[in-house]
């Protein structure tokens, strides 16, 4: 017994050393996509943000927006000490549900509200209804890992065939035709998709359906529609698989591609030059989008087949959802003031370094005037 005691003590110290060592190691291993400064420009921010209201502003929804809202909240709270913003990134669907049951002042969503969701919002918005306010966009990058190929060009039809398992080799004629210069290997294509339901998948499948209707027969959905290729959990899971698997291809928000240093494919939209996935080019695609919402509703429809010069078509547009009339009286002022800051030039310009695409000036102006009219 005594002997064991002694050993135990020794082993415990040994264990403690090993555990702390492991902790240090894991701390280095996590990659932080939310990174990127943010302390810069705070002093300037303080002067321009119009503070109003006080207390806690509850919001919930899209995970794709989380980094942006976090950045805005940080800058906003630095200027307006009376308001704290609490954004719960629990998914677009959950955000709209929380909004429609009156739990949050506004919701973030990757897609505009469906008609039945608008109808449900009328109960909460007394005398009005929930409206979609476009707030930021982001390019969905096509990432790949092919040895010796740094400058891959693809088009919608080829992408659809790759993700549907119709094109299985990297040296397929269709890919060769788009990349006459590249040394394409004869290896198998490993297509990765998201295993969890995701707005990113929803937007990619919307694009494939609109831009390659002949090769993509599936309805757009948050859930990956076919059994082709492999699946991984979350954007970070997909990105890490692409990074370590030779011959792989997948789709992630741009920040995950740049964060993991994986190359992204250019898209041949038919506009002379193939278009690179960048925040600027995504903004150009949003500028080409049409507003389809009526009245205060600014729901937009992206033109996935756009041939506008350097407009990146695989773009995600996310919204904030609030009541046009009948917002909760106690948080109305804070909601308006925060959303106005988010849509302001300053709020939008802080997005670029996070990998998001700011709204084009024209759209931003509309959003600002709608935010002002909320009541």
């Amino acid at each position: 017994m005594k002997l064991q005691r002694k050993n135990r003590l020794r082993a415990v110290t040994l264990g403690a050393v090993a555990v702390s060592g492991a902790l240090v190691l894991t701390a280095c291993g996590s990659d932080d996509n939310a990174g990127g400064g943010g302390d810069k420009g705070n002093a300037g921010a303080a002067s321009k943000i119009k503070c109003a209201g006080e207390g806690q502003l509850l919001a919930a929804g899209s995970t794709a927006q989380k980094n942006a809202i976090d950045q805005w909240s940080k800058d906003y709270s630095a200027a307006c000490s009376g308001v704290t913003i609490n954004y719960q990134a629990n998914g677009s669907g959950a955000g709209i549900e929380a909004f429609n049951s009156g739990k949050v002042s506004f919701a973030g969503s990757d897609s505009a509200m469906k008609p039945e969701e608008v109808a449900a919002s009328k109960k909460i918005c007394k005398g009005g209804q929930g409206v979609n306010l476009p707030m930021l966009g982001g390019p969905i990058a096509i990432t790949y890992n092919v040895e010796g190929v740094d400058d891959l060009v693809l088009d919608a039809d080829t992408l659809a065939k790759i993700f549907d398992g119709k094109i299985t080799k990297w040296n397929d004629a269709a890919i060769k035709k788009l990349n006459p210069e590249a040394k394409l290997p004869g290896s198998k294509i490993q297509a990765f998709h998201r295993s969890d339901e995701s707005g990113t998948t929803d937007n990619l499948t919307k694009y494939l359906q609109a831009a390659a209707p002949k090769s993509w027969k599936y309805e757009p959905d948050k859930k990956w529609p076919n059994q082709s290729g492999q699946a991984a959990d979350g954007s970070s899971g997909v990105a890490s698989q692409v990074k370590q698997t030779a011959g792989s291809i997948s789709y992630v928000e741009l920040s995950y591609a740049t964060g993991n240093e994986i190359p992204t494919a250019k898209i041949d939209t038919g506009a002379g030059e193939p278009v690179e996935a960048s925040t600027d080019n995504a903004s150009k695609a949003i500028a080409a989008a049409k507003v389809t919402g009526k009245g205060n509703d600014l729901a937009m429809e992206l033109d996935y087949t756009t041939k506008a010069a350097s407009a990146y078509p695989i773009t995600l547009l996310t919204y904030e959802i609030a009541c046009d009339k009948g917002n909760k009286a106690e948080t109305l002022k804070a909601t308006k003031s925060f959303l106005a800051y988010a849509a302001s030039e300053q709020g939008q310009s802080s997005l670029v370094k996070l990998g998001y695409a700011p709204l084009p000036a024209e759209v931003a102006t509309k959003v600002r005037s709608t935010v002002n009219s909320l009541s």
Binding site: R10, T26, D196, D221, Q230, A231, T245
Partner: protein
């Protein structure tokens, strides 16, 4: 742990009023422990009721067959989902884990208790304990970033020599398959099986071991005749504890497996799914109905775990009859 000895043990005094001395401390303590016992039953019943109510709600509107449908489309209209792939994946990955982990764990336990010098056995035991302290998401990351890329060669080898069996065929590509999940789970359940087995083997009656040695038995024979028969039921319950963890493991599986709605016996190829993994993947964007559907799958896992535990108890109870003769 059953610690039966040769001498018949007097039946424990019945926990009746007669044992109480009537003092306050006695009454308070018996009340507290009884309360804890009842609380456990209440919690289990509450979980079962909650799961059942939500599950019935979901299953009643299911367009597919809950038991035979492969796809999990609970958020679609009309919803159609089934657990066939999940049952298969959960059981196959757990069985692989058990096949790998139990022999290794028993080996480690025997080494620690009967072979290793004292100086070594303590540290080894605590390194094993450390394995149990690693959070499952860390195992998942290790699995996805280290284990997966390093298994390609081994799987190709398996394919070359055992591919003819059919279920060990390997097509190439990132091996994020049920087999990989099984290997990862084996590492995760190793400590729990090792620890419990070690405790049991350490309690093997010294007298019998010495008697066997005196009869000229070798060390292996001592273990075979005196230690293993004594510890058998303990090892079984240890394995069941491990199996319980393997069945319910969530994050590590979700990180490593490439889920798909395909039911395939080729366990080296990516695809398949487990209950817990499916819940973790589908929960984030599920609506209220989708959540009920996931709860229905959770109920099935709950039932499977109950059956496994019940089976283990049956085995242990049967063994007890013999253990008097063996021990």
């Amino acid at each position: 742990m059953s610690t039966t000895t040769d001498t018949p043990v007097a039946p424990p005094p019945a926990p009746s009023e007669s044992t109480s001395t009537g003092r306050v401390g006695d009454k308070v303590f018996s009340g507290l422990s009884r309360g804890a016992g009842i609380l456990l039953l209440v919690i289990m019943a509450a979980i079962a009721v909650f799961l059942t109510v939500r599950a019935i709600n979901a299953i009643s509107e299911n367009e597919g067959n809950f038991f035979t449908t492969f796809e999990w489309n609970a958020n679609a209209t009309p919803p159609s989902f089934g657990i066939a792939v999940l049952v298969f994946g959960t059981i196959v990955s757990s069985v692989i884990a058990m096949v790998i982990a139990v022999p290794v764990a028993v080996g480690i336990a025997l080494f620690i208790t009967h072979y290793a010098p004292r100086k070594l056995s303590g540290p080894i035991a605590y390194v094993i304990d450390l394995l149990a302290a690693v959070p499952s998401i860390v195992y998942g990351l290790w699995g996805a970033l280290f284990l997966v890329p390093h298994l390609t060669g081994f799987y190709s080898w398996l394919n070359d020599y055992f591919g003819w069996t059919g279920f060990l065929e390997y097509q190439g590509g990132a091996p994020r398959s049920l087999m990989t999940v099984g290997i990862l789970l084996a590492v995760m359940i190793l400590p729990i099986i090792t620890n419990v087995s070690r405790e049991v083997f350490a309690q093997a009656p010294k007298m019998q071991e010495e008697a066997a040695l005196a009869l000229g038995a070798t060390r292996w024979e001592v273990i075979r005749m005196a230690v293993i028969p004594f510890g058998r039921s303990g090892v079984i319950s240890a394995s069941m504890l491990g199996l319980g963890r393997a069945l319910g493991e969530t994050m590590a599986v979700a990180t490593v497996l490439s889920p798909s709605a395909v039911l395939s016996a080729k366990i080296l190829d990516p695809g398949g799914g487990t209950f817990a993994q499916n819940i973790a993947s589908a929960f984030k964007e599920a609506g209220s109905f989708g959540r009920d559907a996931l709860i229905a799958s959770g109920l099935v896992l709950f039932v499977i775990t109950l059956i496994v535990n019940g089976a283990a108890r049956l085995i242990i109870a049967r063994r007890k009859e013999y253990s008097g003769a063996n021990a």
